[in-house]
Symmetry: C2
Subunit: 360 residues, 2 copies
């Protein structure tokens, strides 16, 4: 039984309109506090930026170090028929089981960061029955092959976004204060590159990379497949739901929804790498203010990532040559957002520590 | 009473000669393990590099997540007479007290990283008596003004390096497995820039920055002061102890010694920012193999840092616009070295998780 969220279209538009810009007075108040801590002004660089933004996003002048969850959305892709990936399609469900057993990269790094991993089946072509630890929110059993037809119907695409919004709401209600995004889906750099091309205006060739590590010939094929998919489906770049439906994927829609839902609830969201950023780009095209609430976790080695980061005007926290996905970069970056918040909360002031201020 | 380590010169040369190159077979064995974990090969980028190097440095194919200590060496500088800093000289002892009371940036970030902060008075111009939590290993009460005379005698410079070696040995014997370096000393970007110029061959102007935040006029003065100090003292760039003595500082010598001592004991050392890298550069000029054991924590905004990183052939872990020192960047980078090691130790293999490997 697939999930069916009622009035998904209405939920999406209401969520988008409820996202407000950050309050500059909170950013300024946070900087004023940072400037009385025992360090030269501005000397903690981006840690100070992280703290300030967390204050403004949460609307709280002294936010607690937040409870954290990384949402790893899993889905399959019909386009794997076109030999775009190095790995067989059955790896998607196998890795989902690895996630719920705690053995994957995201499990290891989320444990270190103190984050829960929420594994979401939003579009895997496998029946997990009631596997413990898995959130069964399946919208489709894999997308259709976008080289032949739209990957999703518009209704399915809306359902995927609504799933992400619902999860954000659920975890916000439980008191979580920091979200990370993650993905699993053999073949999913292909739809992500298609989205990158359409929403940044760059050529397909310039935003298509090697994914899990394909060679030169397979890369040429992948570019052709994406060009064909765009040619055949003619997605409208001014309509991000149309883009998501025609050349996207279920997990990308879930990520887009999570970003929108987080922003609408005043919760910062750490966007992982290439696939997650494609989701964030869908979200930011629907509701531009969403980027006020997002942090880019890291700069992926996947070539099209930078174009999307530029379009979103986000500077990544980390640059570690990662290209795994799952939310691994998001878990790592969460530790550094915590660092910023801890600095803000815990450092002594010049006055309390009896340290002289600078000469004027 | 100042510290006096016997036969410091001999201790330094024995330590240098006991540093061995890394064993390639260990690097290869570690990569072989990384390649059977459930992820595309190489997809965790620099985390894999960190794990491999930790294996080769420790000589242990399955190293534990290590006990950690950040050593924050504090010293004063006679050159502050020349108005090279924005802050008054008394801030050095005030900040030392802030460190031992737990209120400084390094305390906050070391707590997060699970690292102990070892605060070392190696050259502060203040009598701390027996302040609890402070390692009293004072070699000098501040350096002399290097614009007028050598900052340290050769014997004092050797004592400073020997202090760092002794601390490395002491903490290695206690079972610590990862060291970080840190510094505190009003005025200490001035000697660090002098060391950078002499040991990289770059011009003084190109490696001298704004430190805690001086303006244009003060920066021009700082460059002149450093040029004068080099002119007057004529340090020999092929003799790093001569460089340390004539235009260096006590804390920089302590950091150099810590790097040497760590490498001689097979302990990885995370080098913080500009001042720490000047210390590491002294160490690497004495014993080039020391860089096999060092990780550059972050890319400082201080302009001369990159030239030293290039000379050491080290790529920083982080790039967060930091310029605080104290070991703050080292504490942050330690968390990411742990991430690499945890990935290496904790991830499931393709076989154990029942995940299909890539198509050939």
């Amino acid at each position: 039984m697939n999930i069916k969220i009622k009035n998904a279209n209405q939920l999406i538009s209401q969520t988008c309109t409820s996202i407000t810009p950050l309050d500059d007075s909170l950013l300024n108040a946070a900087q004023a506090r940072l400037d009385i801590l025992t360090k030269p002004q501005g000397s903690l660089g981006r840690l100070e930026e992280f703290a300030k933004r967390m204050v403004a996003i949460t609307g709280n002048l002294m936010p607690e170090v937040p409870r954290k969850a990384v949402f790893t959305f899993a889905g399959d892709h019909g386009v794997t028929e076109e030999a775009v990936s190095l790995y067989p399609r059955e790896v998607t469900p196998q890795m989902v089981l690895n996630f719920i057993h705690g053995g994957a990269g995201i499990n290891v790094l989320a444990r270190q960061a103190g984050a829960e991993v929420v594994v979401v089946d939003i579009g895997v072509d496998h029946d997990f029955a009631d596997a413990p630890g898995l959130r069964g929110m399946k919208v489709v059993r894999g997308t259709r092959n976008m080289r032949k037809e739209p990957a999703l119907t518009r209704e399915e695409a809306e359902q995927c976004i609504a799933v992400g919004i619902s999860l954000a709401t659920e975890y916000a209600d439980q008191g979580y204060g920091l979200f990370g995004t993650g993905d699993m889906g053999i073949g999913n750099t292909t739809p992500s590159a298609a989205i990158a091309a359409l929403l940044t205006g760059k050529s397909v060739a310039s935003v298509t990379g090697r994914g899990t590590g394909i060679g030169d010939e397979a890369l040429r094929n992948k570019i052709t497949v994406i060009q064909d998919a765009i040619e055949i489906n003619r997605p409208d770049p001014s309509d991000p739901i149309d883009v998501l439906a025609k050349v996207g994927g279920a997990e990308i829609g879930g990520i887009a929804g999570l970003c929108l839902g987080a922003a609408s609830r005043g919760i910062p969201v750490v966007v992982d790498g290439f696939i997650s950023t494609a989701g964030a780009l869908i979200a930011a095209t629907l509701a531009p203010k969403v980027t006020d609430y997002t942090f880019a976790a890291h700069r992926s080695v996947e070539v099209g990532h930078q174009a999307m980061l530029d379009r979103l005007n986000l500077e990544p926290v980390l640059d570690l040559g990662l290209r795994l996905g799952e939310g691994t970069g998001a878990a790592l970056a969460m530790m550094l957002l915590d660092s910023g918040l801890r600095i803000y909360r815990e450092m002594a002031t010049f006055e309390s520590a009896g340290v002289s201020e600078k000469n004027d």
